[in-house]
Amino acid sequence: MRYLPKSPVERKEMLAAIGAKSIDQLFSGIPERFRLREALKIPGPYSEAEVIQYFKERAAENSDGYTSFLGAGVYNHLRSVVTDAIIQRGEFLTSYTPYQAEITQGTLQAIFEFQTLMCQLTGQEVANASVYDGSTAMTEAVLMSERLTGRQRVLVARSVHPEYREVLKTYAKNSGLRVEEIPFTARGTADAKALQAALKDDVAAVVVQSPNFFGVIESYPSLAELAHASGAMFVVVVTEGVSLGIVKPPAEADIVAMEGQSFGLPPSYGGPFAGVIASRDKFVRQMPGRLSGQTTDSEGQRGFVLTLATREQHIRREKATSNICTNQALCALTATVHLTLLGKEGLREMAEQNLSKAQFALSELLKIPGVRRTFDAPFFNEFTVEMPRSVKILNSQLLREKIIGPLALGTAYPELTKHALVCVTETTPRAEIERFAEALRRALERPI
């Protein structure tokens, strides 16, 4: 087997050195009757060419060749080939968690740069080295709020990603957290009046997303004020990080829970991505996950180490701030390289292109008789429209023209049946937007 670096002769020599008669003898600790006698029933062994062939065949059964208008937490963005060239260097790819600082300064400095970039983007003071994804980042932000306030009631806007809310509910079930949902207004924003009515001095966190699940940008200051007046943490979720290139950061938030997928990570059928927790310096000791900190070595040189480990499971065991151990380090590195390549101007320009293309797409769709905008509040690269017919049926018609249509909202929001969430990024050519609008027009002109 090509991955195993031993010849049969070497195996014999090693067994002899150990003083074992056979390899079986080394497994004598396992009771005889539990040892497998037959080979495992799994396919293989495959040569490298056969492995590639298998996955190429699977890839051909997917959506290659289709144009997609899906977003909803996972976005298509341009990425430079330089990013993969860097993250595939074995020194990054095949390195362990940087506990041995002297020989992992590369990873540690890169994480420190990631933390800095995340602070700059979110307007926060401290960011961790990543958690699994946006949904678990949001949940960890709520658990962090619970520790900081000693309270257990949580108010989450219904305009937060439905799957994120589901994950929070899964965690909440066993921790005594009581999760309540805040409705959205006719403009698609979190309902401040309903929030005010629900707020009491027992609320640990108020959670909103911006741009929210409908693509609508929330107004932070007033919501933050309401939360703070009741002594609750104000948690802001960001699923589309590129928006931060032109949209004001959630500086009023106490904790930001962000999904980093938009920063150079391919959609990859839902993962691996990188969740980010950013917060205030004063809350750092309640943060989950690893942190890289600057320090000096015994000769006074600058260096970096994993720090504040007394929050973590390997030191604190059952009293840790979280059980997280393995995180999404290579995804965080990807985001670091990608954002460094984009730079200040590149990110701004990318964000502006998203905005322009989404505005163009909306104007094209609104030309179609019967298509109406659902909400009139400002949006970034996603917006919702109401269709005169079932979105699912329209989408199946679009599929015939190799177009993956917008997400039907009826499943997650029964009151928004016939409404669809359209996403357009800088990767969507104008011609495809026009083709989509044209195909939709034709589909709607067809008799039912």
């Binding site: 195996r11 390899i23 080394l26 004598s28 539990f34 497998l36 495992l40 799994i42 293989g44 298998y54 890839a59 051909a60 997917n62 959506s63 290659d64 996972v74 430079s80 860097i86 020194e91 990054f92 095949t94 362990y96 968690t97 600082a101 002297e102 020989i103 300064q105 800095t116 994804d133 799957e163 391919p266 959609p267 059928y269 839902g270 993962g271 691996p272 890289s292 900190g293 000096t296 260096g303 720090t307 390997h314 604190r316 065991r317 979280s322 059980n323 393995t326 999404q328 380090a329 290579l330 390289v337 954002l339 390549l341 730079g343 590149g346 905005l355 163009f360 400002p378 993956i404 800088e426």
Partner: protein
Amino acid sequence: MRPQNIKEMNKKTKKASRHTSQNEGLIFEKSSPGKRAFELPSLDVPATDPAKALGADHRRAGIEGFPEVSEIEVLRHFTRLSTWNYAIDLGMYPLGSCTMKYNPRVNEFVARLDGIATEHPYQPQELSQGCLKIMRLLEQCLLEMTGMDAITLQPAAGAHGEMTGLMLIRAYLEKQGNPRKRVLIPDSAHGTNPATAVIAGYEVENIKSESHAQIDVEKLRDLVTGDVAALMITNPSTLGIFEQRIPEIAEILHSKGALLYMDGANMNALTGVTRPGDLGVDVMHLNLHKTFSTPHGGGGPGAGPVAMKKILEPFRPVPILVEKEGGRLALEPVRPNSIGRVKAFSGNFGVLVRALAYILAYGPGVRQATEDAVLNANYIRKQLEGVYELPYSLPSMHEVVFSDAIQKKNGVNTMDIAKRLIDYGFHPYTTAFPLIVPGALMIEPTESESKEECDLFIDAMKAIAEEAATKPEIVKTAPHTTRVRRLDEVGAARKPVLRWKPAVPRSEAAD
């Protein structure tokens, strides 16, 4: 280090020699306004004025401090940083319990294919059959290897899998009428076990190992009462020793209505040789970034699938992968008894792809990998026994744990030896763990090491033991050849500096 020491050292180290690495500051320190490393295609629709579309309240002027550098500078910056890392691609990584094995490059290649990396989790399932088939085949392979009945691929890492597993147990017991209160965890367990039990709403009861570092079965009989939900066991234990009485342990738990959870972190010792499902384990997680070779990437991403017996199947996290008529696969979002989602979308799919590529390359021959891993650990054990103290004499499987008792007499501890190993061209072994061995040296070579690399490691360990006896100072002040010396960790924690800030505050206000 003084020059004569370097010369002397070079005689002994056959693996490492000094090399030059480049100095490199933080990327923010190289930034200068107007430089860029990325250009977008020109906009093909009318440009929208952000101030108008977003409103003045929402508009951001710019991101203070964000880098402005060119492409060559980005490439050099990260390439230079990369040379400061040790990696499996450079040599043996004997970190006990971490299973740092070779990460085949074809796995990276297939995970990046168009039609794999490009797929959106919400695209129609009829256009996702390739992704779903990959998940299905991986499920089937993992079930065959573990001897379990059902599986979820959703958890993102080992600790996340542990949490999912305990939630399954809780949901199952609740359905029986009583979720119970406590989870038993041996003192040799990984730190995530107790931290996880708390998140699943359980109290932790730590149980002491008997003198041979095995679970004290007689004592366990007394400890398992009606309010114990489960025992979390690591097998082989963190000492690399197989829990020989595991079927009996399972029986004790089952007779009281409790379940047996197995931490699969050490599955690299068992794959193809024995199956946890046959041993009486009810639920376990697998670390695909350990046993199944997906790259550790400096700390992640991983994947922590959870395999279980039939009784737990109804509680699996949604969505559930099911087979419909005609072999069509689908993800079903609703199940009445499900614990719910533990993560958005369908797990760390890209990691699942890599793990399946690894399994297909081996096929049933994966047993050879297990055998080689155990062979390497025992070979190292044999050669170093006596040089370092072996606190437990039971047979080792894929890893061996020594202690620093002999070297401690000269004031040299396991951390010093580990740091000295760096000078000899190796990554240190695990030092802080397992807690039941004071001054542990936890060594897991994996199957990826040749006899030559194992011999170099053994020579290095012997040379360090000799240094510890004759000139302990050189060990205690190691490493001597790295670009930074031992770092001030206490200072880092006391006054945390966790992000870069501009040296001189700029006049324009940050937005």
